[in-house]
Symmetry: C2
Subunit: 139 residues, 2 copies
Amino acid sequence: MEQLRETLKGHHLRTTTCREDVLLTFMNKKNALSHGDLEGALGENYDRVTIYRTLKTFLEKGIIHKVLDDEGLRYALCSHQCSEEKHQHDHIHFKCNECGKTNCLENLHIPNVALPAGYQPESFNLLIQGKCPECLGNN
Amino acid sequence: MEQLRETLKGHHLRTTTCREDVLLTFMNKKNALSHGDLEGALGENYDRVTIYRTLKTFLEKGIIHKVLDDEGLRYALCSHQCSEEKHQHDHIHFKCNECGKTNCLENLHIPNVALPAGYQPESFNLLIQGKCPECLGNN
DNA sequence: AAAAACACTGCAACATCGTTGCAAGTGTTA
DNA sequence: TAACACTTGCAACGATGTTGCAGTGTTTTT
Ligand SMILES: [Mn+2]
Ligand SMILES: [Mn+2]
Ligand SMILES: [Zn+2]
Ligand SMILES: [Zn+2]
């Protein structure tokens, strides 16, 4: 609980109950969340628009990052110290086609790619889809 | 023009003007297109819904594939012989943050990744964002 | 302590995106 | 020709995302 405020303070954001709850939701569920997921979890307490704006703010401040998906955008916590200036990610995301959950594989890095001459890379997003360990166990 | 009908026939689809025009649009513009792009190009000739359905059909038949994006889904032609049964892609996509265009780098393959035990991969999507050769030239 | 400036939220209104059902039209098959 | 299957447009709807504004609460300044 106190850690939440630390995180917000650390990114120069005021502590509000909506921000605390959104942050808490990300920490409880460990997989990537869509706006709809958050609205489902917190929609009775906060307006849709407020949740959108909270996500936008968290993105800008480096608290969460986008997770590409084949059916809609999701978001996940930045584990390392991202800030408003530097938003660096090079880890892999895995989406299970069975349970539908998408997770950050934080310690699995995207391999280097030798781009053709003239391309200047700035950021990378690798999504691997398949079956997750849990779903493979239950069958 | 005749090649269009070949492609449609080859995937067991009737030749219709909408399908021809959508296919033609993909071949003319070389970058990945969103539904909105197609609606902008063909919207006066065909209903929005028809374009949605055409995209869905092309996806199922293996004529186009999804291209993940940080602001919305796009689609691009499958260059190799994808079919209704087998939809295999392992090439890299590049999105230019300057001009906004996303392209298939057909002959640049996604490197192998050693997933942790228990994960069963099925498909891969790698999007690299940065500046494209054209935009780097013009400045 | 009071005033001014700023930040956050909810609400309404709107725009875009995507899906579904149905009826009419067109092509294919028998 | 008659039956059938596929394709399209239209209408209606639901989901997703954005913007402006007014009310409230915080922070900063005087
Ligand atoms: Mn991640
Ligand atoms: Mn591609
Ligand atoms: Zn799973
Ligand atoms: Zn460019």
